[in-house]
């Protein structure tokens, strides 16, 4: 092998190794950053891992929104008509957050199935239902637990 070729080979090997390491790191981080979505039924059934970043979604139950005296911490229930879980959030709720609206919350599940949200999402279109929530409602409906097929 000529020295020139050898140099080129080393260079290529270094490049491949560098890119390989970078890709491996990125893919590993990818697995750690996947957030799974759980329905209230799944959370009640104990499927959701505790203390791990996940997303939950459902309809905000009427009359469940309660504000703590500090004015910033809010608790509310979300439901898929089969099960209901309690969500706690501190901060400013999105503009479209209101009772009866489908929302998605990102956060961690604490003891006693209290979901502590870091972020609450309500979509910009008032007719828009997060697909996950729509699916969750459909599933619960099929199992015969939801009241007469009305999906808002």
């Amino acid at each position: 092998m000529t020295p020139k070729r050898k140099k080129r080979l080393i260079l290529i090997a270094l490049m491949v190794a560098g890119v390989g390491v970078a890709i491996a790191v990125a893919l590993k981080a990818f697995n750690e950053n996947l957030m799974f979505f759980y329905t209230p039924s799944a959370v009640a059934g104990g499927e959701a891992p505790a203390d791990h970043l996940i997303r939950v979604g459902g309809l905000v139950t009427n009359g469940s929104v309660k504000r703590q005296p500090d004015g910033l911490t809010v608790t509310f229930d979300i439901t898929d008509y089969a099960e209901t879980i309690k969500v706690q959030y501190t901060g400013i709720l999105p503009d479209l957050f209101r009772e009866g609206q489908g929302i998605v919350a990102r956060g961690r599940l604490q003891d006693g199935n209290l979901f502590v949200a870091e972020e609450v999402l309500a979509k910009h279109d008032e007719n828009y239902m997060p697909p996950e929530v729509a699916d969750a409602l459909k599933t619960a409906h099929k199992e015969g637990t939801a009241p007469g097929g009305e999906t808002p």
Partner: protein, 666 residues
């Protein structure tokens, strides 16, 4: 009457697109001059009729013709005229019409400005653009007719989504579409070159300015979108790794790789096959972006109402375009000569590294964007990819990219002695390491490793650019040479590179500083109460009712004080638009060169108390300023006189002038 006219014009445009895509192409293959000559009039006719259709829709909006479904859904008598026009592209059907208008506009621009192209090549390019146009025109006519009527006509329209009633958003989609659709020019040049089997430096030189201009529009569109999100969404964010943002970012990344690789193809005749592949990739990603936005398969703030038929149509179109072009590529690429040779260490290898990194980043963004779809399709559960992952990925890859960015402009084509380059860059290395360490230490400000890294990378770019400029000006006999360069000689592409790379340095500082040092405060305030934020005092003076043209608002008043002196008065608003009864947060922002103070109202808590969110955002303007510089750099590069001179000179130019002078906009 007018809507029918528009509909009819669209049908005529489709017929002309058919003519454009069939006759000139066949004519170019069996050398029939009459058929080749059809390309130009067909392209102009197509543009004429699409423009008429667009004008009809605009006039329906301006005259509040609610018998047109699309106008009834998105228009309103109370809407200010400016927003009546921007409402044309406020939803699915109209924005597709805008897309087609821009596509036919680009086609006409190519037919006018690329007059010095060989007639056969021009006919093929226009013909391929006609094929793309057929896809979109039939999509428009068969699945999303903007001129569909409703009877009886409603008395009042449903109004434009309040989020879109903002000057930033009125121009954001057209800019972005100019970029998306502009990629079809690079695509058409590549396909035409593949058909002709002539992939040479001349081809690269022809398609370079077009690609750069499209890339500039994409850059402006993305920057505007980010700025709009910051102003309008009320959470102070400027980028969310939302699928639709990613959909515009992926073509941008691919196009960035493309303009660099085109430089190599033009200057050195190397990377030919790779460049073609990138051109195909950039346009395919633009189409994929359209598919993601239009089909509603992904959850996103941008999702229009989902319609499976539309999604399916675009998916099939996407498969035809990607499948067809890759088949052509597979058939033609092996016969392309591999062109200019280069050593293991040269400007070519550095640019190859740039391309590899950009493509890897594109692939990761694609993975993160499509992973939720793939997981769902395979029944592995519903997931979303957290934005920390995207951020981390960029932190992994960007430093490598920046290191290459510093070396590239100073390296020679073909062969570069590593030791010599290291000596040239010694000063840049010292400056960036020194500055980085200073910024990482808690001397002036509370230090941070990340801020240190950002300062180091930025200084590396800036100081190596300064070295490159010095070297060039010394060769060009000082400042006189600069004027000569910018004027008569017209080497805009080199200065364009300098400005654009400088923009990247500015951007890096903005992004890192705002992420490291921003302060967010959710707080409840009573009228008259004050709070402290990063050395500023914010005094809340309560909320008053306010009446806008088509909305009601609660309007807060906050005084921003620094050292007892009032420096700004902010009026964040909570608006409810009368027609859609949609609440909207209008933030109050005190803009500054090194920091923004950003306030958005939460909700009333009784007794005049309000919850609100306060942000201190250091250097956030630098993000958009950097984007703007990148775009200006692109414009400078595209204005290079070389391209216009080269068009007259039809002989392929294969070898660059010399390795020492960085004359390429790489």
């Amino acid at each position: 009457m007018i809507p029918e006219l528009g509909h009819f014009a669209l049908i005529l445009a489709l017929s002309l697109a058919l003519v454009l895509s069939i006759f000139p192409m066949i004519g170019s293959l069996n050398n029939t001059p009459g058929w080749i000559a059809l390309a130009r009039p067909a392209a102009w006719g197509q543009f004429f009729f699409v423009a008429i259709a667009f004008g009809c829709l605009v006039s329906s909006f301006l005259t509040n013709d609610f018998s047109v479904v699309y106008v009834a859904q998105n228009g309103n008598t109370l809407l200010p005229d400016v927003y009546k026009i921007s409402a044309v592209w406020g939803a699915h059907e109209g924005s597709l019409l805008l897309w087609v208008l821009i596509l036919s506009g680009w086609t006409v621009a190519v037919s006018l400005l690329a007059r010095h192209l060989p007639a056969v090549m021009l006919a093929r390019v226009l013909s391929v653009m006609g094929m793309v146009s057929i896809g979109f025109l039939s999509f428009l006519l068969f699945t999303s007719n903007p001129f569909a009527r409703v009877f009886p006509a409603p008395l009042e329209g449903g109004d434009l989504n309040p989020l879109l009633q903002d000057p930033g958003l009125a121009i954001h989609p057209p800019m972005l579409y100019m970029g998306y659709v502009g990629m079809s020019v690079a695509f058409s040049f590549a396909i035409a070159a593949l058909i002709g089997g002539r992939l040479d430096a001349a081809w690269a030189r022809w398609s370079r300015p077009w690609t750069t201009v499209a890339w500039v529009f994409l850059t402006i569109g993305i920057t505007l979108g980010s700025w709009w999100a910051y102003n309008e969404l009320g959470w102070g964010g400027w980028w969310f790794w939302d699928p639709v943002e990613n959909a515009s970012f992926m073509p941008w990344l691919a196009a960035t790789a493309l303009i660099h690789s085109l430089a190599v193809t033009e200057k050195r005749g190397a990377f030919k096959r790779w460049t073609v592949l990138l051109a195909l990739l950039a346009f395919s990603l633009s189409l994929l972006g359209t598919f993601l936005v239009r089909s509603g398969v992904l959850t996103s703030v941008h999702s229009f109402a989902a319609d499976p038929a539309r999604g399916l149509f675009i998916l099939i179109f996407l498969c035809i375009v990607i499948g067809g072009s890759l088949t052509l590529y597979a058939a033609r690429a092996p016969s392309v000569s591999s062109g200019g040779r280069f050593d293991a260490f040269s400007r070519e290898t550095l640019l190859l590294g740039n391309n590899m990194l950009l493509v890897i980043i594109t692939a990761f963004v694609l993975l993160g964007t499509l992973a939720p779809l793939i997981y769902d399709a395979l029944g592995w559960g519903k997931i979303s990819v957290g934005f920390p992952w995207f951020n981390r990925m960029f932190v992994i890859f960007t430093p490598f990219l920046v290191v290459l960015m510093g070396m590239g402009p100073l390296a020679r084509w073909k062969h570069q002695d590593p030791g010599e380059l290291a000596r040239k860059l010694r000063v840049a290395l010292l400056v960036s390491l020194g500055g980085g360490i200073l910024a990482a230490l808690p001397l002036l400000h509370k230090g941070s490793v990340w801020a240190g890294l950002a300062v180091m990378l930025s200084l590396w770019i800036v100081s190596s650019l300064a070295l490159s400029l010095r070297q060039r000006l010394r060769y060009r006999k000082g400042l006189a040479g600069l004027w000569q360069d910018l004027g008569a000689k017209g080497s805009g592409s080199y200065y364009g590179m300098v400005v654009a790379h400088f923009g990247v340095a500015v951007f890096i500082i903005g992004v890192t500083f705002v992420m490291q040092y921003e302060i967010e405060k959710d707080i409840r305030l009573s009228p008259g109460e004050s709070t402290e934020l990063a050395g500023y005092t914010l005094r809340f003076d309560g909320v008053q009712a306010h009446q806008g043209p088509n909305y009601r608002a609660d309007r807060g008043t906050l005084h921003v004080l620094k050292d007892e002196r009032e420096i700004a008065l902010l009026h964040p608003e909570k608006r409810v638009y009368t027609v859609q009864t949609k609440p909207m947060t209008e933030s109050g922002i005190d803009v500054g060169f090194t920091r923004d103070i950003y306030v958005s109202l939460g909700e009333g808590l009784g007794n005049g108390d309000w919850s609100m969110r306060l942000y201190y955002k250091p250097f956030v303007r630098w993000i958009w300023f950097g984007g703007l510089l990148i775009a200006i750099g692109g414009l400078l590069a595209a204005s290079d006189r070389r391209y216009r001179i080269a068009l007259r000179d039809q002989a392929p130019v294969t070898v660059g002038k010399d390795g020492l002078i960085a004359s390429g906009g790489a």
